[in-house]
Symmetry: C2
Subunit: 342 residues, 2 copies
């Protein structure tokens, strides 16, 4: 099996868990998905599949074609937990298809809000790399299928907020020190004025789990992809610097050390572990690795665990439905195994 994107530590792995680029695209020849028939949706999916397969690029071997209708609810939710598809895409699976790379870094949602949503995700701070990959897929599909594009409005999308580049660039930030100082809301407010957004772990309206926040651009019209990404990187570096300073301050106190060492100890020992607690403890261990309190610096282990402890992902890996306490036992076992040599 290919090493998953989240099994790599990445740049700035203490503060940046992952970088993500998403491009919204629609085919000229078809109405938007909300107006398209099931038949048309299947045609769209087949044409995307064919375009990839016939491209003779490395992609043709790496991407699997998945009919969402053939997944059960748990498998679909697991893809949401891994940030590979949107919750909406999992909720209504009729006429929807997914192309997914074996390392889970590339996912193409077909017939979500738009015909095509190309998403590339990579560990750590790696927006440029993720954009390059997304851009290559974009070019390949555009040449084969013809995207709806207007000189004034850019790429045409079902929701006007995506007009223009159709690009959303986002970073999953780990900012526990900022969170503890209770300044997330203030920072999020300021970012809105700058056309950026800081949200919970699973997007709009969701809570932040394990001090993970999504930073992303809101504006897609009137500025280039390059500019949008540069703006995001600038803002991110300010947030990362603020986080670093706050964390340095906190690391002087006994409370943070206590939280870090307790968290690692509990991960190594617990026999029952809820999802929320796991996320919190993993966050504390990330703090430990970032500050040097924990010597072994393996952000990849944390990235991997952040995914694997999620309920649907846990059940998918175990190939069966599990009661909440069974999950808590299995989650605890998984974490003990992962951290046993720390």
């Amino acid at each position: 099996m290919a090493e998953k994107w989240y099994e790599k530590s990445g740049e700035q792995g203490g503060a940046v868990v992952s970088s993500r680029i998403r491009l919204a695209r629609n085919l000229r020849k078809y109405p938007f998905p909300n107006k398209a028939s099931l038949e048309q949706k299947r045609e769209i999916a087949q044409s995307v599949k064919r375009a990839i397969e016939e491209s003779n690029s490395v992609l043709s071997n790496k991407l699997s074609f998945i009919s969402m209708e053939e997944l059960n609810q748990t498998q679909a939710v697991s893809l949401v937990e891994k940030h590979l598809i949107s919750p909406e895409f999992a909720a209504d699976r009729a006429g929807r298809y997914l192309m997914l790379s074996d390392d889970e870094s590339i996912s193409i949602m077909i017939n979500e809000e738009d015909h095509i949503r190309i998403q590339v995700i990579d560990s750590g701070l790696s927006l440029d790399g993720a954009y390059d990959t997304a851009n290559n897929i974009d070019t390949l599909l555009d040449e084969a299928l013809g995207f709806a594009f207007n000189d004034k409005l850019g790429y045409l999308t079902q929701c006007p907020t995506n007009l223009g580049t159709g690009m959303r660039a986002s970073l999953m930030l780990h900012i526990p020190a900022i969170e503890r100082s209770r300044s997330v809301r203030r920072i999020a407010g300021n970012l809105t004025k700058l056309g950026m957004e800081l949200r919970g772990t699973f997007g709009e309206g969701s809570d932040a789990k394990g001090a993970l926040y999504q930073l992303s651009n809101r504006i897609t019209l009137g500025l280039s992809e390059h500019t949008a990404i540069e703006n995001l990187k600038n803002i991110a570096s300010q947030i990362i610097e603020q986080e670093r300073k706050s964390l340095e301050e906190l690391a002087k106190g006994a409370e943070l050390q206590d939280a870090v060492y307790r968290s690692l100890a509990v991960l190594k020992s617990a026999r029952l572990m809820s999802n929320d607690e796991a996320m919190k403890l993993l966050s504390n261990v990330r703090i430990g690795m970032t500050t040097g309190l924990i010597e072994r610096k393996d952000f990849a282990a944390l990235n991997r665990m952040n995914e694997q402890v999620q309920p649907a992902t846990l059940m998918t890996a175990n190939k069966r439905d599990m009661q909440p306490q069974e999950r808590d036992i299995e989650r605890a076992r998984l974490l003990r195994e992962e951290f046993k040599d720390y």
Copy 2:
């Protein structure tokens, strides 16, 4: 330094932390302490000291004579924490003296509520042994000093509830499973009818810390020491059996295992530890040792830590006043050190 009583595991160390015998005695020649002058109290103390020293028994080398007036508040409270003196004895130290054995198993409070309170404490279930020791001291002092005794009322004591044998026998029980089943209050109610008492860790009106409860006799008049001790042992064995069964049941569930392994992990790792949390975690580790979840069975370590983590005892050992957070840091350090090889 002599090995302290609490550094031994003792019989039934999972359920019985310690056994204690206390005898209340008064000298014929003097009024009760509440009526005695300071001069008379000093005379009483000197005569007890002399009686011990001149006894030529092993006691004369083992017991130190301490003027309570020369102790500071922290040192006095530490003696309360170790159950060597009563809170009242620590609160007002004028004219009060203590004879204390180097292993802290024997303490003689002079001029508490009665002229003499002989106390013998031992680890585990060991009431007979403790009584024998107390009885020897009693005989020695009676022969030298002459105790107030009445054929009908037995030993005369200031408070009528101690008339008769003047003996209180007590066991410090560790009954976490009974506590979790919320039946302590019911059991305590039933025991009252049988002339017994089940109270919190530090006696009347105190909360139970770390699931530790004092079981003791209430009746001293009309039955012999031997009968009172046998009654107490019978009741204790029923409680211990109930605890054992409840614990066996609980040990089947993942919750108890989880609590045991987490608790040991946190004791090995924390950098800050409150007194209450320490008592709770030590209780969980005792459960682990009792049920075999933790292989290394060292109740003595738990007994020792139960004493050493107490705030005044901690400060006395460090020979200085400490702020609450300093104590929490030192307590955590002490516990990490104690459990590092588990």
